[in-house]
Structure formats: structure tokens, C-alpha cells
């Protein structure tokens, strides 16, 4: 079975629909959504409605820090991000806000754990960028594969029974076997706001039969997403960074 993992959509309708189309064409049979549906982008209502529809159809979805901030303002957020969340709150209806508020911090699949950030303390929203951070997250779980987002940069970590770690920046479209002798942390990259210097939307596909993960990039209508951000009078910077993938 092919499972599509998508994280950090951030209300980017153009990027999200491009990734969903791409995954459908690739034959995705299940969807796992790893949080941060809201924030930064101009289409939170459409995005959350789409997530609700996917969950209705059997998808898993966990909570992200921006989603949590819709219900409970987060003082640690940067001012611009907070502006976006304040605006988002005015865009979402009661049903959508209730949906976000009820999302779990952690969800699981067979041998798999789904979380937005560091699994050792999901509510702290710690980035998993380094070997040390991945090691801490992996130590806290028994799942063979942990899938997360939050950093907006695709990465792959592994740990052996003897606690030896490896770190890797994956290549696009090259399938990687997730060997059963070690445990893995898959950081899937961001659909709606990539920050690894590549503007194309990022997601990952896991083949449960072959036990292979493939990191994918999908070009999308950045002009359209940026125009929507400007039209909504959100901070200009949110539009600009999409073109550079920063």
C-alpha cells in the first residue's frame, strides 16, 4: 500500500491541491497529514475543509503548533506568524475550529508513529533538525518509523540497536529502503512553505510492501499562492519567501 505523508500545508491551497493530485496519480491509497494546516497562507478555510474531507475518508491527521494557536494563542510565536493566526481565526467557522481543537498530538499506524515535531514532547514543538534531536525523538518511542514535519526541510535519520545514528538529506524521487534492523525518523518537508531552497512543494510517499520511502517535489502555481497572500493583506514576506523556498 502507498501512503502519502504531507506536513506543513500552511493554508497554501495551490500547493496542497498540486500535491494531492500528484499523490492520486502516483496511486496513493492512504493519507497521513502531519499538522500545520493553518498559518502563513491565504486559504485556511479551504485547506481545513479539505483536511476534514480526507479524515472523513480515512486519513490520519495530527495537530500542529499553528493549528493549536488558532484555539490558544501562542506567545512564543513570532509576530508575523501571530498576525497570520489572528487573521486565520476570522476565516475559520466554528466547525473548522472545533475540528482543529480536537486533533490529537500523536497518532499511530502499524509500526508507525505520526507527530508534528519531536515525539518525546509533542506539545513543546521542538524541531528535529540534528542527529541529537532525532535521537531524542526516537528514544521516546518504540515505533519502527516516526513520521514528522515542522522543520520544512526533508530529512531522514536512523538509529541501530546499538544507538548508532545516521543522518541524511534525501534526494528527490529516489526510493530509500527503510531497513527493519533499525528505527527511522522521517521528516517529510513542507507542502505549503518549503525552506530548503527548493520552492516546489514537498511530500513523501511510503510503500508499505517494499518498505521504501520516496521524497517527492511538486511544482505548483506559486504566483497564485503569492497573489492570494497579498490580496488578503497578509505580511508581504509570506508571499516572497515562497518563490525562493526559504
Amino acid at each position: 500500500m502507498l501512503i502519502a505523508f504531507m506536513a506543513d500545508v500552511h493554508a497554501n491551497r495551490q500547493a496542497f491541491s498540486a500535491c494531492l493530485d500528484h499523490a492520486r496519480e502516483k496511486g496513493a491509497q492512504r493519507y497521513v497529514l502531519l499538522g500545520d494546516y493553518a498559518g502563513y497562507g491565504a486559504d485556511p478555510a479551504w485547506t481545513v475543509a479539505k483536511v476534514m474531507e480526507l479524515v472523513e475518508g480515512g486519513a490520519n491527521a495530527v495537530l500542529g503548533n499553528h493549528d493549536a494557536a488558532v484555539g490558544t494563542p501562542d506567545d512564543r510565536m513570532r509576530e508575523e506568524a501571530r498576525t497570520a493566526i489572528d487573521w486565520t481565526r476570522g476565516q475559520l467557522g466554528a466547525e473548522e475550529r472545533r475540528f482543529l481543537a480536537n486533533l490529537p498530538l500523536i497518532d499511530t499506524g502499524p509500526g508507525q508513529l505520526y507527530v508534528h515535531a519531536d515525539a518525546s514532547a509533542p506539545e513543546k514543538w521542538t524541531y528535529v533538525l540534528t542527529v541529537e534531536e532525532a535521537s531524542r525523538s526516537l528514544r521516546s518511542t518504540e515505533a519502527q518509523i516516526t513520521f514528522c514535519g515542522h522543520t520544512h526541510r526533508p530529512a531522514l535519520f536512523s538509529v541501530t540497536a546499538l544507538s548508532k545514528m545516521t543522518a541524511f538529506v534525501p534526494f528527490t524521487d529516489v526510493s530509500i529502503p527503510l531497513h527493519g534492523l533499525r528505527r527511522w525518523q522521517v521528516v517529510v518537508g513542507s507542502v505549503g512553505q518549503p525552506r530548503d531552497g527548493i520552492p516546489a512543494a514537498a511530500y513523501a510517499m511510503f510503500d508499505t510492501d517494499k518498505k521504501e520511502i520516496t521524497f517527492l517535489r511538486v511544482p505548483y502555481d506559486i504566483e497564485g499562492a503569492a497573489a492570494a497572500i497579498r490580496k488578503a493583506r497578509l505580511p508581504q514576506f509570506f508571499a516572497e519567501r515562497l518563490f525562493a523556498g526559504r
Partner: protein, 487 residues
Amino acid sequence: MAKPGLQPGSTLDGFHIEELIHRGGMARLWSVTRPGTDVPLLMKVPILGEGGDPAAIVSFEMEQMIMARISGPHVPHFVAAGDFAVHPYIVMERLAGKSLLPRLANLPLPYEEVAEIGWKAATALEDLHRQHVIHLDIKPSNILFRPSGEAVLIDFGLSRHTQLPDLMQEEFRLPYGTAPYMAPEQLLGVRHDPRTDQFGLGVLLYFFSTGERPFGESERMSTMKKRLWRDPKPPRALRPDYPPWLQEIVLRCLEVEPAWRYPTAAQLAFDLRNHSQIKLTARSERLKRDSFLTVMKRRFNPDQPKDWTPRTVAMPLPAAPIIAIALDLSEEAKVTNEALREAASRALTTMPGARLACLNVLRQSYISTRDTVLDEEGHNKHVNRLVALQHWAQPLKLREGRITFHVLEAVDPAAAILTYAEQNRVDQILVGARANSFARSLLGRISAKVAGEASCTVTVVRPRRQADGGGGDAEPAEKAGETASAG
């Protein structure tokens, strides 16, 4: 992970176990058969057990991962892999030939034979590097030959696939490899540079041509590390008749700085095959090792920072291609040849690592024999063509070593160009379109055949036509400036 041991006569995943062929430190090799498969098969089973080296597991994990992803004549054909959770193994084609290991009894070998072995091995390495794999354990026992002549590289237990995570990354405190063949950067834990394989091959070529190992056999880290600052004895110091061209090649492979070796294994293969045109630098003249003072300076004042920044395997390849230019030296082709020179000049400007091979085909008639080629007239023709090629290339002002000249003698020029490109791992062929209708029958067919059948990129070059003159008769297969990529 206790497993019932394999026995001759037992069956595993449909493979019938025949006999134990080899028992190594890390794995056993069984000959196996499978109904419906009539080629000889080999099953490699890792030795994993109590007190076993944990590195053996990781090494086997990597080998399974890599072997399933590589193909072609220069690696054993992969058949199947067994799940670690059940019974780990790799089944692959069993190669008939022997490795280079038994040749150790006959060293030193004749120089030409060493060059031939080196050319074949470098060609195999180039193919492997193109598949994003660095071997990292090049030595005589890991190089075999097919009956058809191609070198086959085996044992990927220490290899690195640069598009996959390096599972060895944190596994070893000590660098893994085979002591006499390990490159300096390997001793420092660097596992991402394809040029590391050139060093291993360089050690092999040195050993096979002199009978001595350039850095000895010691496995002590302190002794092994000497190769970071101590240069080996120049082969000419060991054998007075040692050809300068071979010393040039071998010592270049053994450079401490990967950047001072060949940019690609393809370029190394090219020099081994065309050694009459090698640029001989000071390397080829050396008769002594560096002075004590120089060595001490290198050891204690490493003032030049080593360039070991990460790069992917595939990256240096396109930046250092081999470009072949097929030239027709007849009067009618003059204008086309100028266009070819411009095209070559453009390619060289954008790719400073590129090298150019200028080809001309001396047509033989079907009835000519070898003797007529060697007679005086034939010899003069050959030399005249070489001179004409050099004259054509002169305005490019390429330094020696970046350009070579080749007169091929053949009945079918297109076939000769294609064969040359195949054997020399050429990345791109530049060929002129026919200049005018007079040359149509000859040149037009050559460019069309080369463009249609080559296994690399072919660019058909044509001078820009006057708006009113002679247009309209182009064949579709050779539109001006068309670049065709095939295979």
C-alpha cells in the same frame, strides 16, 4: 537471530543449496540453483552470531541495498535478497572467471598488460560511479573479468550509494577497507568521493607493474597514515625501463589530494587506452621520493587545507565530459569544420574539465589488407591526417592533455566513430552535417547514423545557411544544431 545452518541439499526461498565455495570472515558463499534459472548462481550469506562484528550486519545491509540498485556488465547480475528478519542473503550471478588475485604470483606483469587491466577496471568504475556508487574496496580479489573481456566489480560491503543514507556513517571507529589499498581520505573517514576508487586502482597498478606495494602491507593506523604525507617510491626507481606514461598515470591516481587525481574514472580509462598522447608532467620524470625536508614540511605544516567538502558522486561527471569531434578533412567540409570548432569552443568554455578527442576516419576499401595500411603511402596518409587535425584544433589553444588526435582506419566511418565513442566512454559526439549536396551521400549518412545509433548525446553541427541559398533540402534527421540524446 539463531538460524539453522545451511546444508548442501537444503532449500531456502526456492533456491537449492549445492556446495560451499568460500568461507570468509564476514560471509559464506554457496553455489545454488533455482528451477527455471539456468545460469550459475551464487548465494552470499553473512556470518552473524554471538560475538560477531556488528559491522558485518551493517555492511551486509548496505550490500543488499546497493546490489539491488545497480546493473550492467560491470557488476554481478542481482537475483534476490533475503529478509534480515528471516534469513539474510543475496543471490547473484556466479561469474565464471577468476579474480586478479591469482595474478599476484606472476608480478610484475608486462606494462601493456597492466595498462589493459587498468583500462578495463577504470571503465567498470566509471559505470559504477554513474550509478551513484563508490566501491571503496578496490583490490585484486574484487575485480573479475567476463569471458567477453569486461571487468566486473564485486563485493559492495564497504560501498557507498550517494543517493541513499550511509548506514556505515557512525558505525566504525576505525576506517574500514583493505589496508594497502586505502586512500588517504578514507583513513580520515571520508566516504563520498568517487576519486577514492582511483587511489585503490592506482595502488593495484603500481603493485602489478613493479611487484611492490607502494605503501606496504601494514594495518597499523600510524603506518597507514604515513601515506597522507609520504609519497611512494616512483616506479622508475624500482624498474629502470618503467615507461614514463605509466608512471604519470599511476602517480596521478596516487595523489594525496583527490582533486589532483583524474576528475573522472572515464578520463583515467581514456589515458590508459590512449597513452601515446598523454601529457607527461614532472610526475613522469621522478626517480626519487620527495626530500626529507619536503616530507617533514608536509607532515607538520599542512598549510593547504584539504578540499574534502561533500559532493555527490554524479556531480563531477558532467563537469568533466569526454567530447569526441568527428571531422571530415576534405575541402568541402571547411565551413562545417569552422562551425564545429565554434561548437567545441563553446562546450569547453562552460566545462573546464572537459577533454576533446578529435577523430578522423581514413576510409579503407573493402579489399584493402592490413599490409597496404602499413606501407609507406598509408603511413604518410595517416600522418598527414594527424597533422591536419592538429592544425584544425590549433585556434582552440588547448593545453596538452586536454586534447588528443585519432585517425581511425575503417570501411564504415559511422561505425568506427560509434565504436570509438563506446570504447572510450565518450559523453558527447560533435559531428558535422553535410555541407552541400555534393557531400550529401557521404557526410549526411554518417551524421544520421551516428545520431541515430550512438549511446551518448550527439550534436549535429551545421554552419548557418544564407537565407536564399541551397536551403530546403535538409533531411529531417539532421536539422541544424539538433541535439539528440539516445540510449
